[in-house]
């Protein structure tokens, strides 16, 4: 028994998405960043960790198009390899936040009652807390490592997923096809997995694309503060931090990773905005 389209996106959303030029700009920017991350060693075969003290803080040249840092490491190689870390941490933390957050939201919406009330007010508190401060506190408590960073960023982004999953669950559980399933004696788990989750997936995916941008921004901010992945691994935030210490002598060190973050986050925001406008019929009025 297949579920009828309940909260599925309004039809023709791919056409609307393709008709929006800013969505295309977003797709192009993100594709460029992902390709650069995947092909890092092919595009620029220098080792991002190899130090060469004789060539430290060199301005951009043909051999080092973006110059070298305090340890004489090639900035372009570090920039490309850092893209992998940023995208990986962003993707893992969003996947974690999406899974747990949606599960909480669906449980609250489906079960209702005091459980729903308690979860909703807890979410309000979590939602109003600044993402950066929350992430900072969690990493400070757990200690900086790549795994802890993923957990910390995921915690800061649980609430939006829970919220987005909760509201449609409440509508869906009263719909005829769910009632019919219940009358047939289906278990709650089956009703949720087969009939509710597929119907709210599109909204959750839009939220994921928008919050991936925030996840990457949070990772960069934590690395900049010194709570990110430990050196010598290259991260954009960490590179800006190192560049910032030499900002008077070698301003290009901070400039390149700054632009990389900007391009990635802007691309994701454009993509997420385009998806939301295409899928959500209410947003299309704008």
């Amino acid at each position: 028994m297949s579920a009828p389209a309940a909260v599925l996106p309004a039809r023709g959303w791919t056409r609307r998405f393709r008709a929006n030029p800013t969505s295309w700009l977003g797709v192009a920017l993100i594709a460029a960043v992902v390709l650069a991350a995947l092909l890092a060693s092919t595009i620029w075969p220098l080792d991002p960790l190899e130090q060469n003290v004789a060539e430290r803080l060199m301005a951009p040249t043909a051999a080092h198009p973006l110059g070298t840092d305090t340890f004489g490491r090639d900035v372009l190689a570090r920039l490309l390899h850092a893209a992998r870390i940023s995208l990986l941490i962003g993707a893992f933390s969003i996947a974690l936040a999406m899974t747990i957050g949606s599960a909480i939201g669906i449980a609250a919406g489906y079960l209702g009652g005091w459980f729903d009330a308690a979860v909703t007010s807890l979410l309000d508190v979590l939602l109003s807390f600044p993402t950066l401060l929350l992430g900072l506190m969690v990493v400070a408590m757990l200690g900086p490592s790549m795994g802890n960073l993923v957990i910390a960023i995921a915690i800061t982004e649980l609430a939006p997923f829970a919220r987005v999953a909760r509201a449609p669950t409440i509508t869906l559980k009263g719909r005829d096809f769910v009632e019919a399933g219940r009358a047939l004696g289906f278990s709650d788990l089956r009703l949720v997995v087969v009939h509710i989750i597929p119907n709210l997936l599109s909204e959750v995916v839009v939220v994921a694309s928008l919050w991936l941008a925030t996840a990457i921004r949070t990772e960069a901010s934590l690395s900049f503060i010194g709570l990110g992945v430990k050196p010598p691994t290259a991260t954009w935030g960490g590179m800006i931090r190192e560049g910032f210490e030499n900002i008077l002598d070698a301003p290009w060190l901070a400039l390149a990773p700054s632009l990389a973050i900007l391009v990635t986050v802007l691309g994701l925001n454009l993509l997420g905005d385009g998806l939301r406008d295409a899928i959500d019929p209410r947003a299309r009025r704008d």
């Binding site: 600044p130 800006i240 560049g243 900002i247 900007l262 704008d286």
Partner: protein
């Protein structure tokens, strides 16, 4: 109105309790021993035990929880492990700097964001609208430290219009403003992007309302309809959003203060982190959680004052 005020304030109490409980759990239940985090891997068992006793971490969890809540009720947020000063004293010493920066950012954001948002809404889907939307999305995409570093590179290092490190001479108002300019511009830029976006979408909603059409039909001039009838109502959600944005603004001011080397809450948190000042950190978390819950309540109350319909919901 009085009833609405009381009801909203009463609602803040359980929220506050929940927030405090969350802070307590975050500091206790997450894996990792605070004593070990503070003293490092090399610490002896005796030293670890002594610190645990000093922090009260050797007592059962419910007792710790009651102590924690009792302290908050008495207005006691604890003392810094390093300086021995109370958390309140540490916060009060730096809060004027953060407040000044935050207020300047909100002022700049409203000053530029509201007209830009109205302009974009009126010219909807035309070139100025697209440009404004791209600008505001770019503004929201910048992590606050990236825009801060870029502003510093251009205006302090290349053009030398402003000092690289904020250290105003005491009593010199002009020098004070020169030092505030770049950090405030940095936060103001992000705030402008945010206010522009909200004003635009709120204006678009209001422009489709019946009372705007009625006003036009009565022959009221375009400008008067726009500014007196539409904008007034469009500003209600903007006010709410500015209030709700306070949390993010505080987060961004942390990054801004670090880049411009300005004293403030941000530098206080960073110092506590670097020195593993666990008690100061926990006190600051309680302070922030309280501040944000109260700011949300205040925003709701302001909303109720502007829009009478809200009070009866």
């Amino acid at each position: 109105m009085g009833e609405f005020l009381l009801r909203r304030l009463a609602l803040a109490v359980p929220t506050l309790l929940l927030a405090m409980t969350a802070v307590f759990l975050l500091a206790r239940v997450v894996p990792g021993d605070p004593a070990l985090v503070i003293l490092g891997d090399q610490a002896t068992q005796e030293a670890l035990l002594a610190l645990r006793v000093k922090l009260g971490l050797d007592r059962p969890l419910p007792a710790q929880y009651l102590d924690f809540l009792g302290g908050i009720l008495r207005g006691d947020l604890g003392r810094s492990l390093i300086t021995g000063k109370s958390v309140w004293a540490e916060v009060l010493a730096v809060i004027p700097y953060t407040l000044e920066l935050t207020l300047a950012a909100i002022f700049l954001g409203v000053l530029f964001g509201v007209p830009l948002g109205v302009y974009a809404a009126v010219h909807r889907n035309a070139l100025p609208d697209t440009l404004t939307r791209l600008f505001s999305l770019a503004g929201l995409s910048f992590p606050a430290f990236v825009s801060a570093v870029l502003l510093l590179l251009v205006f302090a290092i290349q053009l030398r219009w402003f000092p690289v490190i904020s250290a105003p001479r005491a009593g010199d108002v002009l020098d004070h403003l020169r030092n505030l300019a770049l950090p405030a511009a940095n936060l103001g830029l992000i705030m402008t992007a945010y206010v522009t976006r909200v004003t635009r979408s709120s204006m678009l909603n209001v422009l489709g309302e019946d009372y705007v059409r009625t006003a036009r039909a009565k022959g009221i001039g375009r400008r008067a309809v726009l500014w007196r009838h539409a904008l007034r109502n469009a500003l209600i959600p903007v006010a709410t959003v500015v209030g709700l944005y306070l949390g993010t603004l505080i987060g961004n001011s942390v990054l801004t203060e670090i880049v411009f080397n300005r004293p403030g809450l941000g530098k206080l948190i960073l110092g506590a982190l670097n020195q593993r000042d666990y008690t100061l950190l926990q006190g600051l978390m309680v302070f922030f959680a309280g501040l944000i819950v109260l700011a949300n309540a205040a925003t709701d109350i302001a909303y109720g004052l502007i829009d009478p319909r809200v009070r009866y919901r």
